[in-house]
Symmetry: C2
Subunit: 454 residues, 2 copies
């Protein structure tokens, strides 16, 4: 079968399918699926509601189910598996590579997980039990224990035979690893090397010895950075004695990069967890509410600050008109500085030893932008609000001070959080902006009280 263009999965397709599902027209559904890539079938199922998704998955033949299951949304997958009988799950898991099998078994209820582990291939079962020990977001949690290897006395001929023996197990073979008799990793070679050397060549004479590897404890973010930096399609995972444990492939890392970026964006938006499209109203509320309440608590403090300046506000009511400017400008400048700082830290461009230099640069940037904003504010208030010149002047000076202050808070908090072991991206959420609001208003009315209102 050849596809002239990529499938467009749209509402119409899903609606047509829903009708077939309602009519339990298994034959038509499977006929449509016969022409689709398994990844497309997964995407379609991800768009169905729970019951329809369960039904559709249940009619797939085992080989297709094996390919579809790995691409399903995690929440939906759990719900689908909850409705399937244990033997079918066992049959599906038995065909998966160990990394995918581990992901799925790890999400099953304990008794079911045990049943599956007892009934799949013994070798795989042992591997999966090992893999289950590692956190999901570590190299150990990402790796597969299926890899092609030869010992260091092998020739090209032996290696080719090894590839042939395992060719059905792997969709892609990126590397053949070379191990010594104690399973220590010595090097690797590519299929290209096997094709371009004579059969009797010793593998150790042609293998790459320039090894890049990680241990199972390595965080997935670091794994992603390494694979990205060195342009690797596969990365070996070894223990402390450099014995080969498994390998991580680039397709898993692409998902990690995507995931980490989404996580950062969620945190910036003040979401305590990733929001899925399928989540219920209450679940979404729970994800969004905590930071809203932090904001609320912080701004109640702002209200206390303002109430303590009640007398000043009463005397100069015009001062209250500029509360939004003070808050918004401090908030924006602080947010910009925090986000840039977090990004520099996460891409390793900022070393903490350089922090003072970087903070001084932030100061200069804040001064330039604060001055530009202050001048504009001075002119605008004097022209359009018929405020007294000395009020406009004080207001503009205050804006400059607040923008510098907010920028420095925004840039410093991520460094401090990092030092005390908290993910610095938290600083880009409502935390810093709320703090900036309180401090900004305090500065604003203190200056007014000292120099303007007598």
């Amino acid at each position: 079968m050849q596809k002239e263009s990529l499938l467009k999965i749209d509402k119409e397709l899903i609606e047509n399918l829903s009708e077939l599902i309602e009519a339990k027209d298994t034959h038509s559904i499977l006929t449509i699926f016969a022409n689709l890539h398994p990844a497309d079938i997964s995407e379609i199922i991800n768009h169905l509601d729970k019951d329809d998704a369960q039904y559709v998955f249940s009619i797939l033949d085992k080989n297709l189910a094996v390919e579809v299951i790995t691409e399903l949304d995690e929440d939906l997958r759990e719900e689908i598996l909850a409705k399937i009988d244990a033997d079918r799950i066992t049959g599906i898991v038995d065909e998966l590579e160990t990394d995918d099998a581990t992901d799925i078994i790890g999400d099953l209820p304990e008794s079911l997980a045990e049943h599956v582990l007892e009934n799949i291939d013994k070798e795989d079962s042992k591997d999966v039990k090992e893999l289950l020990k590692y956190p999901e977001d570590s190299a150990g949690g990402l790796m597969s224990s299926d890899f092609v290897f030869v010992y260091n006395d092998a020739t090209i001929q032996t290696a080719i035979e090894e590839v042939r023996k395992h060719s059905d197990e792997f969709e892609q073979i990126y590397q053949i690893y070379v191990l010594d008799k104690e399973n220590k990793l010595l090097g690797f070679t590519s299929l290209k090397t096997l094709l371009t050397n004579s059969l009797e060549t010793k593998i150790v004479d042609v293998m790459e010895e320039d090894l890049i590897f990680v241990t199972p404890e390595t965080d997935q973010e670091e794994v992603a950075e390494i694979m990205e930096k060195y342009d690797l399609v596969s990365l070996p995972v070894v223990d402390n004695e450099r014995r080969m444990l498994g390998r991580i492939t680039i397709d898993d890392i692409v998902d990690v990069i995507q995931e980490e970026a989404e996580e950062d964006i969620s945190k910036m938006a003040g979401l305590i967890d990733d929001e899925e499209y399928s989540h219920s109203t209450l679940k979404v509320s729970r994800i969004r509410l905590p930071w809203l309440l932090v904001s609320l608590a912080g701004e109640l403090v702002s209200a206390v600050v303002l109430s303590s300046f009640q007398a000043s506000i009463e005397k100069v009511i015009v001062a209250s008109f500029f509360i939004p400017i003070i808050m918004a400008m401090g908030g924006s400048a602080g947010q910009q500085a925090a986000i840039v700082m977090v990004r520099n830290m996460s891409s390793n461009k900022l070393w903490l030893s350089d922090a003072a230099k970087k903070l001084f640069k932030e100061f200069r940037v804040a001064f330039v932008n604060g001055l530009a904003s202050a001048i504009i504010l001075l002119v605008m208030t004097y022209m359009f609000f018929s405020t007294q010149l000395n009020f406009s002047f004080l207001l503009s000076i205050t804006l400059l001070i607040i923008m510098i202050n907010a920028t420095m808070i925004g840039a410093t908090v991520p460094i401090v959080l990092n030092k005390i072991g908290v993910d610095p991206v938290v600083a880009t959420g409502p935390f810093v902006s709320t703090m900036n609001d309180i401090v900004g208003l305090l500065i604003y009315f203190t200056i007014l009280s000292l120099f303007y209102i007598r």
Copy 2:
């Protein structure tokens, strides 16, 4: 050479190197580099200041320079190339794959670019000129015209010979493409297939015909989505007649995914461009200032709104204490909704035909969180601010209305922007929050004036 662990590039290493650079101790520098991966050398150069970077790059031998140049930061690379003589550049570019060569030639001053194009391999020069026609962020801009192919009358034997012939050109060969005599793409095969079938097997009998491909105009974001979804390591690019033009590899796409995520984060922070660590104070100011000025202009409107309610504020000075709560809660709720909506849209989870359903869900979420916040505010103001009960009550109702309103604005603006062809991520910047500030304050004081202040 074998590395026991990955190199740690830190300030100490850079400082030691700077001393060697100052002493022009070429020999020691190259001795250090001899043990490093080219990607590490690039990272080191990226951390040096301009003059040192130029010097270090100039002492690299050509083969190493070829590997180092592709990983340099773009701005720095331009400055380094500006100081190198044309023939060295030509020599380096001549060794690059066409996609990398195109990136570099595209950044050179015109006369220099012409010199290089005239002096590199004629075939490559033709390819690069073709590739230069495509925008950098399209499939055409990402693809390389170097790929291994055979015609459809080939046998496995012919394919293996083809691989051997080109094995020096490619570090990795992911696929061998099968074309007909008009260069139309018919299928592909992997090196694994070459190794596991007999030499006389016809390639058309074993090739994969299940083709996924793109045209050169395809946006890089779509390319990334396709490669991610179908777990591809390489993706063919064809013209409208399906004639093979080139192929995109996964390592380039990993960079694209990273780049797109950073771009979104920049836009969310209200930066008009990506801020680089090496940028000057004024350049950083220019990147951050435009959105700050949008904020300033918007909040000047807020000031006008407040001044129009001067009489009300004078009568009920306590109303001004809660301006920060109104602003911050509307701002946060709107920002959360905007970011979630933008993410759903960019991951294709939201179809516009479902927008009404999604907006209704946003309404329910806003109602739940608004109600929770309003109740807390009611209790807190009544207990701690000794406000009148009916003021507290009105204030809380207002908070609920404002949070619902801000959420709906935050969720709707991205959809509208998308409809009129503007990148919806703009909605997550200061634009929506400024709008929410103005509308929120207007609602707040209108309600107070109507129902409380007489």
